[in-house]
Point group: C2
Chain length 307, copies 2
Amino acid sequence: MKRVLLLGEALIDFLSDDYSESLSQVQSFIRHAGGSPANITANLLNLGEEAILITRIGDDPFGDYLRETFKERGIDTTYVQVDREKNTSMVFVAKSKGNPKFLPFRSADYCIEKPTDMARLLKKTHFFHISAWSISHHPSRKTVFSIMDDIEGTNTKLCFDPNFRRILWEKDEDPMQTIKEVLKNTYLCKPSDDDAFHIFGRMHNEEYIEAFHQLGVQNVILTMGKDGALVSDGKRIQHQKTVSQVVVDTTGAGDGFWSGVYCGLLNHQDIFTAAKWGSAVAAFRLRTIGSDLPLPSMEVIKSEFLM
Amino acid sequence: MKRVLLLGEALIDFLSDDYSESLSQVQSFIRHAGGSPANITANLLNLGEEAILITRIGDDPFGDYLRETFKERGIDTTYVQVDREKNTSMVFVAKSKGNPKFLPFRSADYCIEKPTDMARLLKKTHFFHISAWSISHHPSRKTVFSIMDDIEGTNTKLCFDPNFRRILWEKDEDPMQTIKEVLKNTYLCKPSDDDAFHIFGRMHNEEYIEAFHQLGVQNVILTMGKDGALVSDGKRIQHQKTVSQVVVDTTGAGDGFWSGVYCGLLNHQDIFTAAKWGSAVAAFRLRTIGSDLPLPSMEVIKSEFLM
């Protein structure tokens, strides 16, 4: 069976109890297991695909909670590294009707080390997924670049979630230097229009697609919320309408999209059809509160949203 | 007017909504402005004394909240340093009927720098108060030791809150080396029996008093919860019963005790009477939920608890 290998942040999301435009006003926070690569891993397992997560947590109560959550979700914890010095990473989020304000406290998540049995791990790996978080700091960045070297010239394809935010990087560093290095080796990149804005500044959506291709990305899916998605394989751009009708909670929709896309690609669909599968899983997430509820099978999701 | 100068942690306390024996089980946290030196400063201002706080917060929403809280409590923010790199320190606490579990995430608080106008600041300073947190890490430790040099041979007396917990120090360091260096210059030390246990291990309470004196402390007040306090000036030990009758919430009682003691000393009471004033302020705090409610005047508190 082919698998997706995911490397990146697992962390505690502290989500404000109430809507607020500023984190300095929030009085009460609810704890959630978060981190996009961890969520996509759980999703893929729900969808019946093989997925392995490489991440790093702290040797503390929040790390204990994450590991328990992984087990409940069926995630293999073999590659969940425990850092003896660093704490589990956290993000505080103020729920908002607009763009939610977030404040990261990163620690263990950017210290991911390369597993010793990488060659064996990569053998069955079809897609190697990384988030922008994993390349924002060493030593995790070094780990990613080393694995990028490993997969060069093999059948394993690099997929990059460009969920870039300047605040995650050192103040005196130029993030674009690193991001460009990754993009030129990227098989698939799935930015939201907001991600693309944070990377390239204000441009037309088609120009974002072009910008990613020019930097070497083979396939680009630009998600645009209620305006659907632009899907491009470098030869043609297809505009796909959203299949979502009801939006209750946007949390986890992007991770759902990734999961559906991988499910499509692993099942021999082209990038255009895979994007539709992604849109369907996102629509499923949008309809319910809670990004950590188990997903039904892809067949069920497709029958609801793609028929 | 004589003043107390306090140096140490200001931080966000995330207190569990419900009682729990493990932080890994807590789902909801309420934010509070915390940090013992900050609380004692606010208490002293309530009691009509002059107090100045030297602390350090992050340039983030939690730091903004702390600064706003300081202003509301009348604390002069001149010496509230803002770190551009480090985040505001945080502590997660699981409320417990026994010993509450706590998990610190320290950052800005141990980076306190020496104010440039230290000589001017010290001129009117009668007591220089530090917490164990401030000496657990450089650069804050270096700052404390430099100020200890400044006050040597002057009328400014060093008061040390030995709220020592091993988890606050680097794993490969011997905390006792630093603590001993501080204790030998200490005019007043106010350990709880729990603090003393964490420093010296299991001993009889009178032996704790002796141990502090042997290391150079001039006056020791050992608080023992419902068993009252042992007060020693090095010549005699007095056992003082608690004046507290109703215990609703223990949060802030220790800080209240310190505040009453300082109020007594600044008003020319000896250490035994000052300890009684401390016990009275602690009793006031124990009677109500919330350690950040304004205190009434010392006269009012004394009339309620010491008559």
